[in-house]
């Protein structure tokens, strides 16, 4: 069926730019700035489906950075060792190394822009130890305005910004990325942007699992991050990797924020079981830590909580002022509403819904140390690019790497006129729900999809359940055609449900493919409960084959540049 934007009174907007950054969060703003710095004469455009003032994972700020490699405290080599061990050896060390090598420059640059990191009385960075070895955690108690500072720099650098336009597909011609298509989520206009290089910075897939509360948008990740980039890269033919290494976080029960043991632990707080005793000795989030929490929750000693009630009033007041101010300012309100007080109550914790996010774990679009995907001209950075445990500093580093390399790459390239059939097909796909305003609402279609994700993919992973789940996710392609929408806003949510379905299918297939257990709870297979290095010391990559089928394959781990003896240094957060 032919469906055009103009059928609904929408216009078709055309734009051209040298560098196109999709997503204006942490990585995207930095990518835009660095591309412009690398070549001030180039046109750089950031496309954002919200407003870059308050968008992305750090919409409201951030209370600290997790992976600061600061001379005198740690080295890039130590950092690579730590992440290699924490990610059970499945890393491209060269890519991880860049985060360690360039992280300090990022911190210095952010500081020159007005970001305040915590310093001790002598004026040195006040780093905290949270990882097993080495100090990488740097608090930023005044970090609530990070996004504002980034927005100011985007403006000062002359980077163009288009807000409230959502990208839905990458245009690929002659084997290279040549732009994106999407639509304005307020006016409904169809938007076609030609670019010589495209940098995807669309964040995690945070709306994959359904939170236990049942509220669709009560997710750990900013719910705008629906896996857009994972799906767009997949349909562009790029490889994705480690998708079976889910993101699962220890959160406050019923609330979408972390208990933040790592913020409170320097003050003497810690994660405890119901008896009030510590059961893990390292608060750094990893699959291994999550497995210990899972076990404790399901033992007679559960539930678990962040324990502060043994501390004094003044110390607790100080912890509250940090925890309630930045990353999740609604947290104080949450506790207040329940009549909970840290002085008398532990903060009950639970395991979050699953998601895909390299910032915390390792799933993402495959990139090398130059932020290149496997499609020429297509770059990726931030939570959706495959550099493991990359967190905020890694997003900045890879935003920078992508921005600089993209400018370098596009020098001799010209714009290509998009293929008319492609544009027509995409319009038919995205505007379809408007043809049936009484179709099933996106909320219900999304709810059921994500409930199926919980039912069949939530670890521990059972092969038979995942097979059923996969079958249902594939069949859900038809269900999506039943969705109806009444305005461009609902159309945006409908397009996001498509992304979520793509991610669910990838998550099921990748989890079935890797027949071993690795990364603690993230890929804990009931039928293969042991790690099997002989067969599975490799990445599991996937891509869209020529046939349109999803193809999975092993990709060898690149030779290490830093020697790590994984037999000796098994990651263990619960030495017994």
């Amino acid at each position: 069926m032919q469906i055009l934007a103009t059928d609904f009174g929408f216009k078709i907007q055309r734009m051209q730019t040298d560098v196109l950054v999709v997503g204006g969060g942490t990585a995207g703003t930095m990518a835009g700035i660095k591309a412009k710095q690398a070549n001030p004469d180039s046109d750089v455009l950031i496309l954002e489906k919200a407003n870059i003032r308050r968008s992305g994972a750090i919409a409201m700020g951030m209370d600290g950075v997790n992976t600061a490699v600061i001379p005198g405290n740690s080295t890039p080599e130590q950092y690579v060792r730590e992440i290699t061990i924490a990610n059970d050896g499945i890393v491209n060390q060269k890519a991880v190394y860049e985060t360690g090598r360039l992280g300090f420059e990022v911190i210095q640059e952010l500081e020159s822009w007005g970001v305040k990191f915590q310093k001790d009385p002598d004026g040195n960075y006040d780093l905290k130890q949270v990882h097993r070895v080495g100090k990488y955690v740097l608090p930023m108690p005044e970090g609530k305005d990070l996004k504002k500072i980034l927005t100011r720099q985007v403006k000062r650098h002359g980077v163009n910004v288009t807000n409230r336009v959502m990208a839905t597909r990458v245009i690929v011609q002659n084997g290279r990325a040549t732009g994106v298509v999407g639509f304005d989520v307020r006016s409904g206009d169809f938007v076609v942007i030609q670019a010589k290089a495209v940098i995807l910075c669309t964040g995690a897939c945070g709306r994959l699992g359904l939170p236990a509360s049942g509220y669709l948008y009560g997710t750990y990740e900013n719910p705008t991050n629906a896996g857009d980039g994972y799906a767009m890269a997949y349909h562009a033919g790029a490889e994705l990797t480690n998708i079976e290494c889910f993101q699962i976080n220890p959160l406050i029960k019923d609330y979408n924020g972390p208990a933040c043991a790592y913020v409170a632990s320097p003050f003497g707080a810690y994660t405890a079981n119901a008896e009030g005793h510590r059961f893990i000795n390292c608060d750094y989030w990893s699959g291994q830590m999550m497995l210990e929490i899972y076990k404790e929750l399901n033992s007679g000693n559960g539930p678990v909580h962040l324990k502060m009630y043994h501390l004094d009033d003044d110390t607790i007041a100080e912890i509250e002022s940090i925890l309630w101010a930045n990353e999740r300012p609604s947290r104080g309100r949450f506790h207040e509403g329940r009549g909970e007080n840290y002085r008398t109550h532990g903060v009950e914790m639970n395991i979050s819904e699953i998601g895909l996010c390299s910032g915390h774990s390792a799933s993402g679009v495959w990139v090398n140390e130059r932020a290149e995907t496997t499609v020429p001209g297509l770059y990726a950075a931030g939570d959706m690019a495959s550099v493991p445990h990359n967190y905020m500093i890694g997003a900045f580093v890879y935003g920078r790497v992508a921005g600089e390399n993209a400018v370098d790459y596009l020098q001799s390239l010209d714009h290509l006129e998009p293929d008319a059939d492609f544009l027509a097909a995409e319009q038919a796909r995205i505007y379809h729900p408007l043809t049936q305003p009484n179709g099933i609402p996106h909320t219900q279609v999304e709810y059921k999809l994500r409930r199926l994700v919980n039912d069949y993919l939530q670890p521990p992973k059972s092969p038979h359940k995942m097979e059923i789940g996969l079958e249902k996710f594939v069949a859900y392609t038809d269900t999506l055609t039943e969705m109806g929408a009444r305005d461009p806003h609902e159309l945006m949510r409908c397009a996001e449900v498509h992304f979520i379905r793509d991610c669910a299918e990838m998550a099921a297939r990748a989890s079935l493919y890797r027949k071993e257990t690795r990364w603690g709870l993230y890929h804990y297979r009931l039928d293969y409960p042991e790690k099997n290095d002989a067969e599975w010391f490799c990445h599991v990559n996937l891509k869209k084959a020529e046939t349109g089928e999803m193809e999975l394959f092993k990709r060898p781990v690149e030779p290490y540049i830093i020697d790590v003896d994984l037999k000796e240094e098994v990651y263990d957060v619960a030495v017994r």
């Binding site: 305040k116 004026g123 100011r152 005793h277 510590r278 619960a574």
Partner: protein, 320 residues
């Protein structure tokens, strides 16, 4: 575009409060630096809500020309206005603003002085010392506390006799701050004074802070007081005293550290195990064997490490 900007700038002077608020908000989102000068003028608005919003907006522009007018807001009679100015300046001040901040200290306005003392901590410049010292004599508790806290942030100041008097101030909030600052000073009287406060101050937070300061100073002269503090009724005092004893491994601490392995608080048990490991004495081994079964995983891990370390030390002495 220019005319749009002008339209909002004109609205800044509207007699209607609502219009002025909308104008500021719009200029904030537009982010055009041509709006900075008119916004600075709007700091003189009669309405404190307008003033606060203008400060937020100027903060967002982060232009150095706004720093002097923002310093002028630090002494505002309106709490929201001066707090917003303080937050903005915490991000905006740099070492170039030292003299301007010192001028604010001379104004005689209590709020301005207090806020300027806080901002000097971002600059870490010892030149501020003579301007801070007069506040040690202030009648006002908050100013005394702020001044002695700021002293901690002045690099290169290693001796400051007047700070010792504040560690015996009648106000416990001043003593708590002064004691932490003493941990960064090397005047002769510091360690004896901290030792006395550690065991005798009526306020437990002063005692805890004294233990933290003595941990930084790591002076063997404090051992007796630190050992005595291991029986303090407050667990946080015991915890930080144990930590200070980790650095100064002294056999006199052995019996009390062994008792600390049975403390009700796991942090004390854990840190005592590490201190015993550092001592390297066989007498601690049987007590540490017991804590291998502690319900707290940290205590188990650190006890295991302490045992290994003691055995290593013993083996080295036997061979050496």
């Amino acid at each position: 575009m220019d005319s749009e900007l002008d339209q909002w700038i004109t609205l800044l002077r509207s007699p209607l409060l609502d219009d002025r608020l909308v104008a500021i908000k719009t200029l904030q989102h537009l982010g055009d630096e041509d709006a900075i000068a008119p916004l600075i003028d709007a700091l003189q608005d009669d309405d404190p809500t307008v003033q606060t919003l203008v400060i937020t907006t100027l903060w967002e522009f982060a232009h150095p020309s706004a720093i002097p007018p923002l310093l002028g807001c630090l002494g505002s009679p309106h709490e929201a206005v001066r707090n917003e100015a303080l937050s903005a300046l915490k991000e905006l001040v740099s070492t170039d603003d030292l003299m301007k901040l010192l001028d604010v200290l001379q104004t005689g306005n209590f709020h301005a002085q207090l806020n300027a003392l806080v901002l000097l901590r971002k600059i870490h410049d010892a030149q501020a010392l003579p301007f801070i010292l007069p506040f040690f004599e202030s009648e006002n508790v908050e100013l005394r506390e702020a001044a002695v806290t700021t002293l901690r942030y002045l690099n290169q100041v290693v001796r400051c006799e007047p700070a010792l008097a504040l560690a015996q101030d009648p106000s416990e909030t001043v003593r708590r701050a002064a004691v932490l600052t003493l941990g960064h000073l090397s005047d002769d009287g510091v360690v004896p004074l901290l030792s006395t406060l550690l065991t005798q101050d009526a306020d437990w937070q002063v005692r805890r802070n004294a233990a933290q300061a003595l941990d930084i100073l790591a002076d063997p002269a404090a051992i007796a007081a630190l050992v005595a503090a291991l029986t303090d009724p407050e667990w946080q005092v015991r915890k930080f005293a144990v930590r200070a004893l980790q650095k100064n491994a002294d056999p006199r601490a052995l019996p009390t550290l062994i008792n600390a392995l049975a403390d009700d608080f796991s942090d004390v048990r854990r840190d005592a195990a590490t201190a015993l490991g550092n001592l390297g004495q066989a007498e601690a081994l049987s007590a540490l064997q017991q804590t291998l079964n502690d319900p707290d995983i940290d205590v188990r891990i650190f006890s295991e490490r302490a045992i290994a370390k003691i055995n290593q030390t013993l083996a080295a002495t036997a061979h050496g």
